[in-house]
């Protein structure tokens, strides 16, 4: 089968790889129809995530058709059209039993600090991802869900991570009626976080980025106020001014380890890799939230230490909340929101790229060419 394969930082290619096989009785093999490139895939692509091995296939956002099931699979059969959450999880360990699916303890021998994620390095369990024609899906009775007939395929693929994560970010913020919510990052997760903040009763939603085309999307798609931080000498001071010198009630970091905006942090974090990426967005979140406010982090960060302004968080009495999203827990409510027309996730899709051209897709997404916001990978045209 054809699959994307990592060759080292900034290098990938499509290779012929062996077909995935049933390795556990509750595995399924899924024929991928559509996958996506996620912003957090860029952390792998840029060599920021430890234990990213040459030859692995990325891709944790994908949908497809069940091709084969293991002997203990009860809930899926061959031919089912399924969406697969980015988390690999068992459904029965101490953490899964409490709904913390992204923190499953039974699927990632390489680390206890993070659960299992498709195509996200051996630090996240060493699973191949869905940017391929076929993928092994462990715990097929637990993670995947049959895509409802009424749901559009492109909406479904965005539910497997980006929308669920954006919504989860807003939820972590504990937004109350009338709250001022600032979202750092106008990528897919940031756009969905901004949109979700309104559903939770925000009174004002502000999105910050440095790319004008993404801010335009934030204005149109998420009805947000926008600030281009490249236009200001100090975006934090600007945030204070626009909130009557109070600061935002809730700030959502939807950027993660690839943040720009500080020369020093970018060079030491994302270029020289002396930190776990650049923590600029997180530090700006801590700076721009009001005292006693909440910072929600759904931008992806790796396990290596970062120079985070913890003292300011302490002295301001902040609540910091963060996690990988327990995706499937979000689905029933998000299905309702899509059906009611409150959310239309596929509106942010800008590019559809055949699997064979995925290297160009990564470069385009990484370099932010051609107005790229969300590229989908067409693995098996259905």
């Amino acid at each position: 089968m054809k699959a994307m394969a990592y060759r080292g930082p900034y290098r990938i290619r499509v290779e012929e790889k062996p077909m995935p096989t049933i390795e556990h009785p509750n595995d399924a093999i899924v024929r991928v129809t559509t996958a996506a490139i996620c912003g957090s895939d860029l952390h792998l692509y840029h060599g920021l995530m430890p234990d990213t091995r040459v030859g692995t296939t990325f891709g944790h956002e994908f949908i497809g058709v069940v091709e084969e099931v293991g002997p203990s699979v009860q809930h899926l059969t061959r031919g089912d059209r399924v969406m697969v959450p980015f988390n690999v999880y068992c459904g029965s360990c101490y953490f899964c039993a409490r709904g913390l699916y992204s923190n499953c303890h039974n699927v990632n021998p390489n680390a206890t600090a993070v659960g299992g994620i498709y195509g996200y390095s051996h630090t996240c369990g060493g699973y191949d991802g869905g940017q391929a024609e076929f993928v092994r899906v462990p715990f097929a009775d637990v993670g995947p869900t049959i895509i409802p007939d009424w749901m559009d395929s492109e909406d479904a693929v965005l539910l497997t991570d980006a929308l669920a994560t954006g919504y989860f970010g807003a939820q972590l913020g504990g937004i109350g009626e009338g709250d001022t919510v600032v979202v750092f990052g106008a990528g897919p997760v940031g756009l969905f976080a901004a949109k979700s903040a309104w559903l939770m009763g925000a009174g004002r939603v502000i999105v910050i980025d440095h790319l004008e085309y993404r801010l335009e999307k934030a204005r149109v798609f998420a009805q947000a106020e926008t600030f281009n931080f490249a236009e200001y000498d100090d975006i934090i001071v600007e945030m204070k001014k626009t909130t009557d010198y109070l600061g935002a009630d809730v700030v959502i970091d939807a950027v993660g380890a690839e943040a720009g905006g500080s020369f020093l942090q970018q060079v030491t974090g994302t270029k020289l890799k002396l930190q776990g990426g650049s923590p600029v967005a997180l530090n700006w979140a801590i700076d721009s939230v009001r005292k006693g406010g909440t910072v929600a982090v759904v931008g992806a960060y790796g396990p290596i230490f970062s120079a985070v302004k913890f003292g300011d968080a302490l002295n301001k009495g902040l609540t910091l909340r963060m996690n990988q999203t327990p995706v499937k827990r979000q689905w029933p409510r998000l299905f309702e929101h899509i059906r009611n027309g409150y959310l239309k996730p596929s509106d942010i899709v800008t590019h559809r790229i055949p699997l064979e051209h995925i290297a160009e897709g990564y470069h385009m997404f990484s370099a932010k060419l051609d107005g790229c916001i969300k590229p989908l990978i067409i693995a098996n045209p259905s």
Binding site: P50, G99, G203, E212
Partner: protein
């Protein structure tokens, strides 16, 4: 004429200038439908519901262990299910296995893994030169997208902050190769001098 009201933090109960719920509902479809935290799917954060996950086991069957599957020493055992995408091999495998002697709280664990990643990438590149499909920097970096996806237009006049440190990219990319070449030259010269004696 009355003095202007001081900014919000300096007074007790200054109302925020926020549109009314009716105005927000009119502008934003679905505004406030999840206002009640109970309507938010991960509220409360932890809900004990082992029967609601789809699992029909208390402890999953164990995937067959491949010899020497590395694991964090913070785990009490090999997890019953694991990925098998790229088993440890060669020099990079030895480096990575060494990293797994350290706990996840130690910088050594992660930094050694990062070193293993770089060795893995360099090794794969060198091995590819002896294969039928050597690494190709043109297709594998996707740089052709610059021509096909408005590369120049995407960069001009957009105030991109990362332009400030674009100059550093060649240094970071080429630096290790230059350092390795210099190191090799030094070693070769030293060996040659000793041989001449």
């Amino acid at each position: 004429m009355s003095a202007p009201t001081p900014p919000t933090p300096y007074v007790a109960n200054k109302p925020k200038d926020i549109p009314s719920p009716a105005a927000l509902r009119a502008r934003i479809p679905g505004w406030g439908v999840d206002l009640d935290p109970k309507d938010r799917p991960s509220y409360p954060r932890e809900v004990f519901d082992p029967a609601g996950t789809g699992a029909h086991w208390d402890y999953p069957e164990e995937q067959q262990e491949r010899e020497g599957r590395e694991r964090s020493i913070e785990h009490g055992q090999l997890t019953p299910v694991f990925g098998t995408s790229a088993p440890l091999h060669g020099v990079s495998g030895s480096i990575r296995r060494y990293a797994y002697r350290y706990g996840e709280g130690r910088a050594a664990h992660w930094l050694i893994l990062m070193a293993g990643d770089r060795v893995d990438a360099w090794g794969a590149h060198l091995r590819s030169l002896a294969s039928l499909r050597p690494d190709d920097p043109v297709t594998e970096t996707g740089v052709l997208a610059e021509g096909r996806r408005h590369g120049i237009a995407s960069r001009i006049g957009r105030g991109r902050v990362d332009v400030n440190h674009l100059w550093l990219d060649p240094v970071v990319v080429a630096g290790p190769w230059v350092a390795a070449a210099a190191g090799t030259a030094v070693v070769v010269r030293a060996i040659a001098r000793r041989t001449r004696r």
